[in-house]
């Protein structure tokens, strides 16, 4: 039952509230889930009915075959992140949630760009791709496909560079993220 408290008084004025946190930045949530049917639907459904918006979502296996990792990004300017994580914790199949600190995290996403270029512009596009450490993975007479890996910001920057050439389509995986240092994410 614990020790009886001291008799120090407490002023109600000094109490601070724990408010729903709108942090104003992007949050990367790394979620370990049991690999059971319907888990992704439960997560997606929870977001939908609470009015939370998922910006990106990736799902993949981990080194434990019974466990999958979901990495999703949420805009902390729009949604109270603590409510999002508390609601996620209520899902029985969710094992662990980590709200990754941007400074202690390595995050990557992969993108494929199909750009409309003919012979005249191809060289210029290849130069830009090289600056972004992108790879040309397919070339046809009237189009080039470039593969770029990096942070969301880098990929967005690359997009703005190739858009003037005529961007036919773009595909992005959404971010995966891993914490820095020795500890597990």
């Amino acid at each position: 039952m614990g020790e009886p408290g001291t008799k120090e008084t407490l002023s109600l004025e000094d109490l601070d509230a724990v408010v729903g946190l709108r942090t104003g930045r992007k949050h990367v949530l790394s979620i370990l889930v049991e690999n059971k049917p319907g888990v992704l639907t439960r997560i997606a459904g929870l977001f939908a009915r609470r009015g939370f918006n998922i910006d990106t979502l990736t799902v993949g296996p981990t080194d434990d075959e019974g466990v999958s990792r979901v990495t999703l990004t949420v805009d902390g300017a729009v949604h109270p992140i603590d409510q999002v994580t508390k609601q996620l914790h209520k899902l029985i199949n969710v094992l662990k949630i980590r709200d990754l600190e941007p400074t202690d995290t390595v995050a990557r996403e992969l993108a494929l760009f199909k750009v409309a270029v003919d012979g005249g512009q191809r060289g210029e596009l290849m130069q830009i791709a090289e600056i972004f450490r992108g790879k040309i993975v397919d070339v046809t007479k009237r189009a080039v496909i470039v593969e770029v890996t990096g942070t969301t910001e880098k990929i967005t920057a690359f997009e703005s560079m190739v858009r003037p050439f005529g961007l036919i389509e773009m595909m992005r995986t959404g971010e995966i993220a891993i914490s820095r240092g020795r500890g597990e994410t």
């Binding site: 039952m1 614990g2 009886p4 408290g5 008799k7 120090e8 008084t9 407490l10 002023s11 109600l12 109490l15 601070d16 509230a17 724990v18 408010v19 729903g20 889930v33 049991e34 049917p37 319907g38 639907t41 439960r42 459904g45 929870l46 009915r49 603590d82 409510q83 508390k86 609601q87 914790h89 209520k90 899902l91 029985i92 199949n93 969710v94 094992l95 662990k96």
Partner: protein, 564 residues
């Protein structure tokens, strides 16, 4: 043995003594197993009735209720009770049949995606994919339903898997690594809460259904009486603190229910409080009214077993995650050790008593034999000696029952709060009566609501379940009529239900006793006579047609704007 026989063994191991259900194609194997299982099964007339009965059973007994249905329409008929159980945190396990695995996803006969449909309205669900999973799923379903913040859990079993032969071994370990409810409460936070309460000059204890779920009514009462804390309960929390003492007099610390149709004393006290201690409640919109103007001077202690409720609607200053019973017991010790001066609450009580005297619950009684609906509840209170289990439907009669029937114990008031499900009361009373055969169980119903599950009178007649259904009959969908009167310029639109049906004949057709009352002067003795009849009874009580439920905080308004 067959997987379904293992299901029966699991139910017995979980202490299940009764289930409510209706057979169909996909759960034929389960029903075959019932023949030899030795578990009481009550055949309902509609799956929704079975679901609500399981809820009523759970609410009255504190045990897990069980409801069964077949696939497709059987399962979809459970959607309302499942949602109701989710909103009011009722522990119920629903076991549904599913089409054979080879038919899954083919739009087979009576196929519905039960797991998909119910995903947003369950605490958890199990889609069985292999017969060997069945025993573990059943046990985990019970554990999840009853522990932490209780709620509904579904186990969906395809017909072919339920027939499979399996080697059944009792399951003794649960594998739920992602589910570990926090029950103890942080000691430092509890101490902080005790200190805040000791220094508060205008405190209010605001208790909800979580106190009842945690079986913490005794602890709550003891804590409130450790000082002269004013206490109010939500609709779901009624009975968590005794409204009346053994002598029948109102408890001096009891402010009445709070919220939209709560007392002025309770709502005004919340409005002027400097510290509100919320236990097992969730600051629902029916409590707060206009959120931005809710309790503007108050700091908040919030005790709840569900961390997601804390700071969801109202920011908590001292959050305590834990089981209400554990936390209140610890809080009591901490509080007593502080030796707070009860005299500091003198001014606060003067203010509260001023509101009580000026604004008691009141209504204008009729001058003749007409039965005012409020009087009907007072008469029921008197006729039952205040000692019945009361279930209700949803609407005006529910609010009057909450206001005028004074609950002295927990698990005596069984109603649908969060979802507001018309048709809940009668089957819930049936479930409560099955769970508590030694108690008088009365359903206070509306003439609109009662018809939504009146078919269960047949179940009650067949099973000799002696519920007493008292219909507060005003020939209207009364609460909607009231809102149309007050907020829609009295343009009544589709609220008049007239004289239909004849409830006395309906009762007779179902094999229940039916009678009609319309005289105030003999109402109490007439009700006593009706309650003394054997078997299920339906009493059609004719009340004033257009009476409004007051007082009232108009939707979206702050508490100070109460009307009526």
């Amino acid at each position: 043995m067959r997987a379904v026989d293992a299901v029966m063994e699991c139910l017995k191991a979980e202490g299940v003594d009764v289930v409510f259900g209706l057979p169909g194609g996909a759960n034929l194997p389960t029903y075959d197993a019932f023949v030899d299982a030795g578990i009481r099964h009550i055949l309902v007339r509609h799956e929704a009735g079975g679901g609500h009965a399981a809820e009523g059973y759970a609410k009255a007994t504190g045990k897990v209720g069980v409801a069964l249905a077949t696939s497709g329409p059987g399962a979809t008929n459970l959607v309302t009770p499942i949602t109701d159980a989710m909103m009011d945190s009722v522990p119920v396990v629903f076991i549904t049949g599913q089409v054979r695995t080879e038919l899954l996803g083919t739009d087979g006969f009576q196929e519905a995606d039960t797991i998909g449909i119910t995903m947003p309205i369950v605490k958890h669900s199990f889609m069985i994919q292999h017969p060997l999973e069945i025993p573990r799923a059943i046990h985990e379903a019970f554990h999840i339903a009853r522990s932490g913040r209780p709620g509904p859990v579904i186990v969906d079993i395809p017909q072919d898997l339920s027939r499979a032969e399996i080697d059944y071994e009792p399951v003794t370990d649960l594998r739920l690594p992602g589910y570990q409810p926090t029950t103890d409460g942080n000691q430092k936070q509890i101490r902080q809460a005790a200190k805040a309460l000791a220094s508060a000059r205008r405190p209010v204890i605001y208790a909800g259904g979580g106190v009842i779920n945690a079986n913490a009514a005794g602890e709550l009462t003891e804590f409130c009486r450790a000082d002269r804390f004013p206490v109010t309960c939500t609709l779901m929390g009624l009975g968590a603190y005794p409204a009346v003492g053994a002598d029948g007099a109102l408890d001096p610390q009891w402010l009445g229910m709070l919220g939209m149709h709560g007392t002025r004393a309770a709502n005004y006290a919340m409005d002027e409080a400097d510290l509100i201690c919320c236990v097992g409640a969730r600051f629902d919109d029916r409590i707060t009214g206009k959120l931005s103007e809710f309790a503007p001077r108050a700091k908040f202690i919030h005790i709840d077993i569900d961390p997601a409720e804390i700071s969801k609607n109202v920011p908590a200053h001292i959050p305590i995650v834990g089981d209400a019973r554990n936390v209140l017991a610890k809080l009591l010790i901490e509080y007593r050790a502080l030796g707070a001066d009860p005299g500091r609450l003198e001014d606060w009580w003067t203010r509260i008593n001023g509101w009580r005297e000026k604004h008691p619950l009141r209504y204008e009684d009729s001058a003749d034999s007409e039965i005012k609906p409020q009087y009907m509840i007072e008469a029921v209170f008197e006729a039952t000696g205040g000692d019945a289990i009361i279930s209700s439907d949803v609407g005006q009669h529910q609010m009057w029952a909450a206001q005028y029937y004074h609950f002295a114990q927990p698990r005596r008031w069984i109603n649908s709060g969060g979802l507001g499900t018309m048709g809940f009361g009668l089957p819930a009373a049936m479930g409560a009566a099955v769970g508590c055969p030694d108690q008088l169980v009365v359903c206070i119903a509306g003439d609109g609501s009662v018809q939504m599950n009146a078919q269960e009178l047949a179940t009650c007649a067949q099973e000799r379940i002696p519920i007493k259904v008292l219909i507060m009959n005003n020939g209207y969908l009364g609460m909607v009529r009231q809102w149309q009167e007050l907020f829609w310029d009295k343009r009544y639109s589709h609220v008049d239900t007239g004289e239909f049906p004849d409830f006395v004949k309906l009762a007779d057709a179902y094999g229940a006793s039916g009678l009609r009352l319309h005289d105030k002067r003999t109402l109490v003795s007439d009700l006593r006579d009706a309650l003394a009849l054997d078997g299920p009874v339906v009493v059609d009580v004719r009340v004033t047609r257009e009476e409004n439920t007051y007082p009232m905080i108009p939707a979206g308004q702050p508490a100070r704007e109460m009307v009526g």
